[in-house]
Symmetry: C2
Amino acid sequence: MAWWGWGSPEAERELPEPALGFLREQLGITGEGRPAVTLEAVQVPVSGLSDDAAAKLGAARTDHAARVEHAAGKGYPDLIRLRSGDGSSAPDAVLEPGSEEEVRGALQACAEADLAVVPFGGGTSVVGGVEPLRGEHAGVVALDLGRLDRLLELDERSLTAVFEPGLRGPEAEALLNARGLTLGHFPQSYEHATIGGYVATRSAGQSSTGYGRIDELVLGLRLVATGRELDLPPRPASAAGPELREVLVGSEGTLGVITRAALSVRPKPRRTRYEGFFFRSWGEGCEALRALEQAEASPDVARLSDERETELSFALAGEGGTTARIGRSYLRARRYAGGCLAIAGWEGEEDDVTRRRARSALLLRGHGALALGSAPGSAWSKGRYHGPYLRDALLDHGVMVETLETATQWSNLQALYRAVRDALHASLGARGTPPLVMCHVSHLYPSGASLYFTFLARQEEGSELEQWKAAKAAASQAIVSHGGTITHHHAVGRDHREYMAAEVGEGGVELLRAMKDRLDHAGIMKPVKLLPDPPGA
Amino acid sequence: MAWWGWGSPEAERELPEPALGFLREQLGITGEGRPAVTLEAVQVPVSGLSDDAAAKLGAARTDHAARVEHAAGKGYPDLIRLRSGDGSSAPDAVLEPGSEEEVRGALQACAEADLAVVPFGGGTSVVGGVEPLRGEHAGVVALDLGRLDRLLELDERSLTAVFEPGLRGPEAEALLNARGLTLGHFPQSYEHATIGGYVATRSAGQSSTGYGRIDELVLGLRLVATGRELDLPPRPASAAGPELREVLVGSEGTLGVITRAALSVRPKPRRTRYEGFFFRSWGEGCEALRALEQAEASPDVARLSDERETELSFALAGEGGTTARIGRSYLRARRYAGGCLAIAGWEGEEDDVTRRRARSALLLRGHGALALGSAPGSAWSKGRYHGPYLRDALLDHGVMVETLETATQWSNLQALYRAVRDALHASLGARGTPPLVMCHVSHLYPSGASLYFTFLARQEEGSELEQWKAAKAAASQAIVSHGGTITHHHAVGRDHREYMAAEVGEGGVELLRAMKDRLDHAGIMKPVKLLPDPPGA
């Protein structure tokens, strides 16, 4: 993966000229390029490992490339810093254990040398989750799990697969597909994210309305830690006390290293069908999705863009596109112009897709949807992992681009939506960089749904991080004060830790600290992440 | 509820003569009655409350009836002791708080007076969960939550209801039904169990294959405790760290008192349809259920009895029953004699039931099932809460009757089934009381299923508890050494706590202890429950 952005350095990431024109007009960007520096030009501090520590660690990498590649995740502030040549967050060393025993050995060595440990999977965190902060320790090591990449067991009768943590999404799918199976977990980071990362960050994928979030797929886990270790074998269900799997899911590497995960798999769908539907308004679309979900008639993929995101996706596709042109005139003729695009997708056996699609479509139409057929669905499917590449292109043109997400009960959805949108407009407007703010619903539950915001603004040159902090703080405050969760699937990392008390209360934070004390006895796992600093620290 | 058994003291609980004849023949019981003693004859220790403690507690009940009624749950050993007049486990006092604030006050008073606290909901535990053990404390108080019985909030748009813990199943349903809604949670204990009990014991109901276990219905919880308290508002989903709701679900009162629970509700089904299917063998039936579940075609209720349970249910229904007579000859004619009865039930809108039933039935027939129509389904539905009354009748006739349950992956289901059955036969056979052992599957998951065993044997008069302990230990050992969970939905309580290290490892037990230390700071909540004694204790 490109150290300065997403995906292969060679991947196409140019914005079409009409899109650029739209952004120039809307955001006031100049259009001058702001490319990243070269790898060699990234400034990293001297590796702070003592000779003694280096000896304890054994075969650690301390070369420039390895340190830069493990210096950050893929959040906006991460990329801003790296692209400008600021590698101050580079770890002192990178360890690449090849077995569970080597993970254990690495943790022991780091505990003895007082080195903080940051487990590193795909490095795709957008919330500062993998930035190697050292906290109060003498140094910090990135623990790259990429060599732990095996499918260890496959129980086809029980539809259960046991994976090592470093296996990436596409490789896991390839191994399962070869046996006619799928995990069905496709976050936008899918091309690079790992099994361990899914579990550690409580991930949700684009098909999670149908397949379930990662927490619903986890059957068993093993955790290697500096204190007590855990080995929870795969079980379909149990009433034997609190569910400890749910303590490890979302633990973000702060308790230890997840070294194996037993996950539910299912038959690979023989057919997938993605379609577009259009609503006259966001409110109407949200009500339709609520009706769908509460009638247990949801598609596996269900997304609804608000008016602004719908408009922007038309603009980014280019005004000249035939599909866009046909679509627009059709929508005008049907009096749906200015409305909201929804994508619905069904996956499964031939008959199931037909049957389930008919049921969803009937309900959607009954709630005001106009069926647009498969063209918008195919377009979505083709571009489903494209967002992060687009971000690189926007950064190249001096555009601030960030995403954030939350979830709440249906009865609170519109109030939360307005609060976050207003907060972003107010905070960035006050800085003279009024944003484009757009939003979609992408995960449905009987009791509520997620909201996923994307916002664009002209970068404040020289104050990019301050600008980002202001917008992020305003949006986060709006979320927690309007009943949303601080994160639906991006996780906590560094960026959301100050909101954990709002999320789970002081009591919840204390409980999480108690768990960490017991499992991460040495206190070296991922300092300054997930939990706020203790009082008085 | 009758202090000596289940349900109203007046409820009919006589065994039909043919059933009694069958049991005499199979188990060698004499048929002499063994009735319970009178309430007055139950021997309870003098209440050990000091004057100081009594003053701290305020309005506590210490009368004989209240103490006996809170002396035990409804497990076999509980009933054996109480029926014989042994009330030695009676609490020193019973508190009946009427508000969350009074719960908090009660915990503080108990902490100051060094009294252990045992929260008491419906009192239906069959694993020793509510037996008021005092541990190392000066005394023990039963905290009866029956006055906390309100539906606090109903968010119909989000299908979310907020309950107090002491509300019983039927009352909760009545409140929801009045608004066209249902919780859909129907454990066998439904007539007496409470919302708080469901959550605290990680309960599953007879329709949980369709509606989900209680952990899948919990959206938010509040815990009052002697240390840190927790207030987790209802949220559809979150990636903000470990899931703390899942720490409270199944905590069995050892962390504190759950004072409110926000649960998912859904539209009350307009139609329910329960039907019988017959399989030539248990193995064939299990494979059919696996196919059903893995094709996402499961009914909401799915139960499969093994050959022995099928035979016994025929016998208990009485040979003379017309249905049984017709059924038997039909099965013989179709060459299904000696096979296994399954019950499948669908609930929902008229169309949904028709559609889903057709799909399930097609798959079941494709896997060897013979459709028996709705008569067996109606019979099951009519008797769905009848098991515990039947137990009272069996106890009256000197029959040992106990149930235990587990769950495992599909690939391990038959090995676990044989191991538990063999362990019960061996342990009770060795004591000269060979048992009848029967089993059913009643909860389906993509990766596995539950096994629910019932066993009957002639009571060893004077050694009833030793006999039970031997059988229970043999079965529990068989479960944990063959990959089963020690409990699928009965919870841990007193009876399973020694198996928690086998269940979650020593590390898991330590983690649970750390949680308890932080939340139950005074260390008074439910001693000698859920967790094994610490090493060296």
